[in-house]
Symmetry: C2
Subunit: 463 residues, 2 copies
C-alpha cells in the first residue's frame, strides 16, 4: 500500500539520482586504503563536507588511527537512528584485473564501477539520499533524529571502534541502528543479517637465518618456507577441522530458530559460482549445506610471502617466511582466547620459533529477531522489493556491530544497495544503479517509520 | 720452488691489478639478470669486446636464449684449455639489504662489492689477467691454446648449454677445462670440486577460483594457499626425507674414496654461521656430518607467493598460489625421471589440480681424481696457498659441467677467486682483492703448466 509520502519519497530519489551518483563518484575517486593509510584523511574531509551540505552538525574525532566523522541531524522526534558506515576501502590490487581503473568511477551497463562503489561509499550516499528524500516529503523536517557515524578503519578490523563507542556513549546515544551492509539476495529479496562472525587476524612469521642462502646448501641449512608450511599444516586437517586445542570450546551451534531461518535461505551455489568462478566447494558441500556452514568457525590463509617470487627461478633458501591468517569466529568465541590458544598450539607442536603477531580482531554479535525495528525493516523491505525479506541468523563476515550493539543496548538492522555480485574487496567492484535506487527507497521508508514504530506498543502494528 | 717464470707472472699480476679491477667494475656495473633477461646482451657485448682487447678471436653465438661468447687464442702448443664462465648474475633483490647498490661497484675494507663481483664476472677477469701474465712472462706467446666459453644463462640452469656443446663440438674441442667456480676454503686451502649435484627446478601452482574472494566465505570456498601448503607438505617428512615414490631409486651413495676425501674436509660450522647467521642446522647436524650430507639429494622451497602480502591484512581467500622448488640431485639421478615421479606423486596424493611446470634442470657430474690436470691444479694450488689442496668429491651446487665433460671427454678442474664468504646470490656479494690476486696466480700457473702436464707420461711428474 503506497502512501502519498512514500510516493513523494520515491519521486524525490529519482529526480535527484544524477546528483547522488555524482557525489558517489567524488568519494570513490579519492583513495582511502586503511591497510596502508593511503588517502584516508582526505576522504574523511570529503565525507564531513558532504554531511554539512545536507545540514548535519559534524565533528571529526581522532581515534589514534584514522578519524571518525560523527554527524547529527535533529528531527521532529527525539527518537534517534544511528547510521554506521565507513569511508575506508580495501586495497585495489591486483590492478591489472580491473576493466577500468579502481579510482576512476565509470558507469557502464547500468552500474557504477570503482573501489568503494558498494563497500561502503555507495551506502554512505544512499543514507544521505534517503534522508534528503524523507525530509523533502515531510515538509522539510525529518520525523526522527539521525546520527551518522562514519569510520575509516573498517577494512582493517575497526581497531579503535570498540574504545571509541565506550568513550562517546553520550554522543552516540540512539534507539536503533542501520548498518553499513544491506540489500538483496540472489532472488531479489531484502536480505537482513541479524548477526555476524568475529574475526582474529594474525601474521605468522619465522626467521631461520640472517639472510637468504644458496640452495646448494639445502642439505644442511634450515629453510623458513618449509618451516612455515609445516607449522601451517598443523592448524587444520584435510576436512577443515581446526586442530588448535580448545578452539571449539566456546563455539555455540545454531539455535532452533537459526536453523529454521537458514533452511529458508535460497541455494547460494549459482550465485557463488558466478561471483568467484569456484570449481568445487569445501568438503564437496552443495545446496543448503553451504548456508548452514556459516555456523562453523574458519581458519583462512589470506596470503603467504617468502623467498623469490619473480620470473624464472632463483636458487635460494629463504631466511624468512610469513603468512597472514584470519579466523572467523562464531558466538561466543573470543579472539583474545583464540590468540592465546594458537600460541600454545604452536609451542606444543614444537614451533616456538614461529612468531604470532596480532593484526586485529572483532567479536561475534547477534540481534533479537522480534524487535520492532527488525519488523519495520523487514516490512518495508517487502514493500520495496515485492517479496518477503530473508532474515539471516549470521553472516560469514565480521563487522564492528558488536562494538555498538552491546554498550548502546540497541538492535541493529541492515538495508542498502548490495546484491551479492558486487565484487567487493576484489577487482571490478561495482554497484548497480537500480540497486542504488531501491536501497535508497528502502532506507527512506525505515527513516520515515522509525519513530512511529518505536513508540507503538510492543506487538502492535507500526502504523 | 719458485721459477723465474712464476716470479714474472706474479709481478705482472700485481703491476696490472688496478686495470683488472677496473675491467671488473665495468662488467659489474652492467646488469645481466638472466631470470628476467635484463641487460644480458649488453653484458655479452662488453665481454666480447674485452676478449678482443686481449687478442682473442671471438664469436657471439645465438642459442635461442642469451648468446654465448666463444673466444680462441692460439698458443705454442695445440693442447687447448677450455675456460667456462658466465656473464649472467642472480637477481639483486632484496635491494634494501645491500650496503651499497648492487650495480655500483665499490671497494671497501679490501674487497670489491657488486652483484657478480665473485659470481662470475670476477672469475672472467681473473682468467684474462692470468692469460695476460703468462703471455708476458713467456715472451709474448702462451705455452698452450685457450678457448673461452662464456654463457649468459648459468643462473637459470643453463637451459641451452647441453645442446650448444653438442652442436659446437669442433669449436670447443679441448684437452681439459677450468671451471667458473674456484678458490679457497675456510682454512685457506685451495678447494677443488670434483663433482656437482644435478638440479630440477619447478613451479607448483594451483588455481581454485577465477578471482580472490572475501574471507567471510572461508567456511565454503576453497583456498589456493591451503591447497598448496597441503600439497607441499606431502613432499618431505619432518626429518627431510623426500616422500616422492622412487625418488631415491637411482641415487648412489659415496664411494670409499669419496668418504675419505669428505672426512678430510674442515668443519664448516663456523664458516656457515658467519655467512648465513644460521641458528641451527637441519636435523641438528654438527661438524663433519654437515659435509657428508652433500650426498643427500634435497627439496628446497625457493619461494611462495599467494594472496595479500602488503602491510596490515586483507580479508581475502586467495584464488591462486604458487611455489618455486628446486631438487638437488646426486649421481645418478635424472631430472627428467624426478619430474615424472613428482607428477605421479601429486596425482597419487589427490593433488591432480596442482600444476607442475618445468623451469630448468642440470644433471649431476663427477671427475676422476687421478688425471694429470687434477694433479697439476692441486700442486699449483698448494704452491700458491702454501697448504695442501682440499679435494671435494661433490659440491652442493649444480653447474653445466655435465654438458661439457661427457661429450668432450675431458677432466674439469676448479681454481679461482672465491673464499666461501662472498655472499654470492645474496645482498652484499663481494670479492676480496687478496683472493683475486691469489686466484689469478693459481690460474696462471695452471695455464703455464697445462701442455707440459698433458704431454708427460701418465704417472710421471709434470715438470
Amino acid at each position: 500500500m503506497e502512501s502519498t509520502i512514500t510516493r513523494a519519497i520515491d519521486a524525490h530519489i529519482t529526480a535527484n539520482l544524477d546528483r547522488h551518483l555524482s557525489e558517489l563518484s567524488t568519494l570513490c575517486a579519492q583513495p582511502s586504503v586503511s591497510a596502508r593509510g593511503e588517502g584516508n584523511r582526505d576522504c574523511a574531509a570529503l565525507v564531513e563536507a558532504l554531511y554539512r551540505d545536507y545540514g548535519f552538525r559534524t565533528r571529526m574525532i581522532e581515534t589514534g588511527g584514522q578519524p571518525v566523522v560523527v554527524a547529527h541531524l535533529e528531527g521532529a522526534s527525539p527518537r534517534r537512528l544511528l547510521c554506521y558506515n565507513h569511508y575506508d576501502v580495501q586495497p585495489p590490487e591486483p590492478l591489472e584485473l580491473w576493466t577500468t581503473p579502481p579510482y576512476t568511477p565509470t558507469v557502464r551497463d547500468g552500474a557504477l564501477y570503482a573501489r568503494g562503489s558498494r563497500d561502503d561509499k555507495g551506502e554512505i550516499v544512499c543514507r544521505l539520499a534517503a534522508i534528503d528524500a524523507v525530509r523533502a516529503a515531510c515538509g522539510g523536517t525529518l520525523p526522527c533524529s539521525i546520527v551518522m557515524v562514519t569510520e575509516g578503519e573498517e577494512e582493517i578490523g575497526s581497531p579503535h571502534m570498540k574504545a571509541f563507542v565506550q568513550e562517546h556513549l553520550d554522543l552516540l546515544r540512539c534507539d536503533g541502528a542501520i548498518w553499513e551492509e544491506g540489500g538483496t539476495d540472489e532472488s531479489g529479496r531484502h536480505r537482513m543479517a541479524l548477526g555476524g562472525r568475529g574475526i582474529l587476524a594474525v601474521e605468522l612469521s619465522v626467521e631461520v637465518m640472517d639472510r637468504d642462502a644458496h640452495s646448494g646448501g639445502g642439505h644442511l641449512l634450515p629453510n623458513a618456507a618449509w618451516r612455515l608450511v609445516r607449522a601451517l599444516n598443523t592448524l587444520k586437517d584435510a576436512n577443515e577441522r581446526i586442530l588448535i586445542e580448545g578452539f571449539y570450546e566456546q563455539a555455540r551451534g545454531p539455535s532452533p530458530l537459526d536453523t529454521t531461518l537458514i533452511a529458508g535461505q535460497p541455494d547460494p551455489t549459482e550465485a557463488l559460482r558466478a561471483e568467484t568462478g569456484v570449481r568445487s566447494f569445501l568438503n564437496g558441500m552443495t545446496g543448503g549445506a553451504l548456508n548452514a556452514a556459516v555456523f562453523n568457525p574458519t581458519c583462512t590463509i589470506e596470503g603467504i610471502t617468502t623467498g623469490y617470487q619473480g620470473a624464472g627461478f632463483k636458487t635460494v633458501i629463504p631466511a624468512r617466511a610469513s603468512a597472514k591468517l584470519d579466523f572467523r569466529l562464531v558466538m561466543s568465541q573470543d579472539p583474545e582466547d583464540v590468540f592465546r590458544k594458537l600460541r600454545r598450539h604452536l609451542d606444543a607442536q614444537g614451533f616456538d620459533d614461529v612468531n604470532v603477531e596480532w593484526l586485529g580482531a572483532m567479536w561475534p554479535w547477534k540481534a533479537e529477531p522480534d524487535h520492532p525495528l527488525v519488523a519495520l525493516a523487514a516490512a518495508t523491505g517487502e514493500a520495496v522489493y515485492g517479496k518477503p525479506a530473508s532474515l539471516i541468523p549470521t553472516t560469514g563476515g565480521s563487522s564492528p556491530v558488536y562494538a555498538f550493539a552491546r554498550p548502546l543496548g540497541i538492535p541493529v538492522i541492515t538495508a542498502g544497495i548490495g546484491n551479492m555480485r558486487n565484487r567487493q574487496h576484489a577487482p571490478d567492484e561495482h554497484v548497480r544503479i537500480d540497486d542504488f535506487v531501491n536501497g535508497t527507497r528502502h532506507v527512506a521508508r525505515i527513516i520515515e517509520g522509525f519513530a512511529r514504530a518505536l513508540e507503538a506498543p510492543r506487538g502492535a502494528p507500526a502504523s
